[in-house]
């Protein structure tokens, strides 16, 4: 076992392989405040990659409702229960990761889901955890009303548990962009990776008898184009790009800006130790700060405050980055906010898109003199 540095935990930890960061790391930020669980991302991915026989309940992208929903069933509760108590001292994680909790003879703690666990991908979506009770004059909910939507894909982790678990290294992390891929010709269907991934984003194909996972649409990314799930996002919640480690932050890189500069985007369950590369802007209306800290780590409260501040109009740069979400199919490497507009630039510095920070309101007169007609759609 090697000692590697996990900046999300602010400490070293054990891992099977030496630290080997890619030349650049593909990553994304999901703004949970804007997700409406329309599942367009889910279906964009499903129709692109997993519409074959044996992939019926395989969703590389899913959107679940927190805290009651999960896909596969109770994945987060199960792994957190297995991991036991987790504690932070400031920004330093003082608990154990899934690697450090491993029993002798194992690489990590984990579990293999049952097929029924995959059978309700949007279980808990806008549902109560149990039936409402009848009070004298009203119905009473069994729990608080707050909830939020959590879209999830493979985190293309810096320290993937799936990669570590494979006895024959069928899983690899690409040095050029950090995308974690599972070699379909080499896999022998042991499902150690399915057991290992705490986010449960490696899945077993019932017909080909080998495991499969999100490929982060690498053929698109290689051409500078965003993934299917990002491009189709109706709520424009997704910022896709490349995320740097803290010592190589570029402030005009949208993802770096959100993750490292404003620290408004946080990893999902960082305490597991995988250094995931999909980040989340925590929901601002959740009734439990403890729940947010459990899900996104110790920076959750500050992230909520920073986001609220931007929404009140006090942070045009942060607002600008978020306005670039899903404004172009191309991958944005650089942004600039000026004169009430935000511009996104490609890898070679070319301007890809320009978006106003506030959409202008245009009122069209009811009578159109050019065609001498009245229009009634001006309300």
């Amino acid at each position: 076992m090697a000692k590697v540095f996990n900046w999300q935990l602010n400490r070293e930890m054990t891992y099977r392989f030496e630290e080997a960061r890619p030349q650049r790391q593909a990553g994304a930020v999901f703004d949970t405040n804007k997700c409406i669980a329309c599942q367009t991302c889910t279906m964009a991915c499903k129709t692109t990659w997993t519409s074959g026989k044996g992939q019926e309940f395989m969703f590389w992208n899913n959107v679940e409702t927190k805290p009651w929903g999960s896909y596969p069933m109770a994945w987060d509760v199960k792994i957190l229960n297995t991991l036991g108590a987790q504690s932070w001292d400031g920004n330093t994680y003082t608990g154990k990761t899934i690697f450090e909790s491993a029993e002798q003879g194992e690489y990590h703690v984990g579990y293999l889901p049952d097929d029924m666990d995959y059978a309700g991908p949007n279980r808990g979506e806008d549902e109560l955890s149990s039936v409402m009770s009848e009070e004298k004059f009203y119905l009473k909910m069994p729990h608080d009303a707050w909830f939020f939507y959590l879209p999830r894909i493979c985190n293309h982790c810096t320290y993937p548990a799936c990669l570590q678990s494979c006895p024959r290294t069928s899983i690899y992390k690409r040095p050029e962009d950090g995308i974690v891929l599972l070699d379909q010709s080499r896999c022998r269907g042991y499902r150690e990776c399915v057991r290992a991934c705490p986010y449960k984003k490696v899945m077993y194909n019932h017909v080909t008898r080998v495991s499969e996972k999100c490929v982060l649409c690498y053929p698109a990314v290689e051409k500078g184009v965003q993934t299917r799930c990002m491009r189709t996002c109706i709520g424009k919640i997704r910022t896709f790009g490349f995320v740097s480690p803290p010592d190589k932050v570029r402030e005009d890189n949208p993802v770096d800006f959100l993750v490292h500069v404003r620290k408004v985007a946080l990893p999902l369950l960082p305490q597991l130790g995988l250094e995931p590369n999909i980040y989340y802007i925590p929901p601002i209306h959740v009734g439990s700060q403890a729940f947010l800290r459990m899900m996104f780590g110790p920076g959750a409260e500050q992230a909520v405050a920073t986001y609220k501040n931007a929404m009140e109009g006090n942070d045009p740069e942060l607002l600008g980055v978020l306005m670039l979400n899903v404004s172009t199919d191309r991958i944005i490497h650089k942004f600039n906010v000026s004169n009430g507009q935000v511009a996104g630039f490609g890898e070679n510095g070319q301007e890809l898109v320009r978006v106003p920070l506030k959409e202008p309101t245009i009122v069209r007169p009811a009578f159109d003199p050019t065609l001498a007609v009245y229009r009634y759609n001006t309300a």
Binding site: G52, K53, P167, S185, R186, C187, R191, H206, T208, R209
Partner: protein, 314 residues
């Protein structure tokens, strides 16, 4: 063979082994043949299997053929697998019984072991198959060779898989095998195809994109199975490679709580790096067993220690 005598024999073996303080050597006054249940316990293999020469063809298609009774049977204790992560600290199968026949051109191994649960389906996520393996190599190898060879000396492995046996016998175990009530609108042409399934030559264009493992040429993902035995070459844990020419044959049957499996190959090597066998020679030999319902797969398995195979001459 019935379950009762097999279990009784295991129980007796454990008792004897306990009384003798572990290792023991049982004098083989009379040969106990494979499938021969009434001649007492098989002697401990003492690290050696002798492949008996016969003038008839090796009965590779029938693990219950009477000819197997003429081969001397030995008991091979299985070990924990602690060499490669993840480990199996207790063997899922305490021991197997082995014998071997050869006809001067082809060698066959018969492996028998008690397994109350027959696992021959790997359709669902938590399902793993039963299986067994025979490893062969040159006579002088390091002790660690039993774990799929070493870096500079390749091991030639034959792996019998219960799921492939079921595929061969009854046709490809498709999705409906695990999920009989599955509903679908459209699929590539595996659906409703006559069984046993034969995938046509034009399948690549028609449906391969929907079956990634098959599209990538993964032998596990091919629905057309012709043999239940896979030939593999390995240079240590994590390196097993499907051989280009697959001509090992065999057959496994489960009855009364026990598997009886025949694994056979030609003396001649058909792949580069594969070991060629000759009568009158000695070779490195090891066995492995997987019990699917115990979660065995990959390195979660019960191997034997490294032993020797002596092939009797004509």
């Amino acid at each position: 063979m019935t379950l009762e005598p097999l279990q009784r024999r295991i129980g007796r073996r454990k008792l004897i082994a306990g009384a003798a303080g572990g290792a023991m050597a049982v004098g083989a006054a009379a040969i106990v043949g494979c499938g021969d249940d009434d001649n007492g316990p098989a002697p401990d293999w003492a690290g050696r299997v002798v492949s008996k020469f016969i003038r008839d063809d090796v009965p590779i298609e029938n693990p219950r053929a009477s000819l197997w009774g003429s081969a001397p049977k030995v008991e091979v204790p299985m070990q924990p697998q602690a060499s490669a992560l993840p480990v199996r600290m207790q063997p899922s199968v305490p021991s197997i019984r082995v014998c071997s026949l050869n006809d001067g051109k082809r060698i066959g191994f018969m492996l028998e072991w008690a397994d109350p649960q027959r696992d021959e389906k790997v359709v669902k996520t938590p399902e793993f198959k039963d299986g067994c393996g025979v490893l062969l190599g040159p006579p002088e190898v390091p002790a660690t060779y039993f774990m799929m060879g070493v870096a500079d000396i390749a091991a030639s492995i034959m792996h019998w898989r219960a799921d492939w046996q079921k595929d061969v016998d009854d046709g490809f175990q498709d999705l409906e095998t695990g999920f009989p009530n599955v509903a679908f609108d459209f699929y590539p042409p595996l659906v409703d195809a006559p069984r046993p399934l034969v995938v046509s030559e034009d399948y690549p264009e028609a449906g391969r994109p929907w079956l990634p493992g098959m599209n990538a040429g993964n032998p596990l993902s091919q629905p057309n199975k012709t043999s239940a035995v896979e030939k593999l070459l390995a240079n240590g844990p994590g390196t097993i490679t499907h051989m280009a020419v697959q001509d090992a044959i065999g057959r496994g049957t489960w009855k009364d709580g026990a598997w009886r499996v025949v694994i056979a190959r030609d003396f001649a090597a058909s792949n580069e790096g594969e070991i060629e066998l000759k009568g009158g020679q000695e070779y490195a030999l090891a066995f492995t067993v997987w019990a699917g319902s115990e979660g065995d797969r990959g390195s979660r398995k019960s191997p034997s220690n490294l032993g020797k195979l002596f092939i009797e001459n004509a």
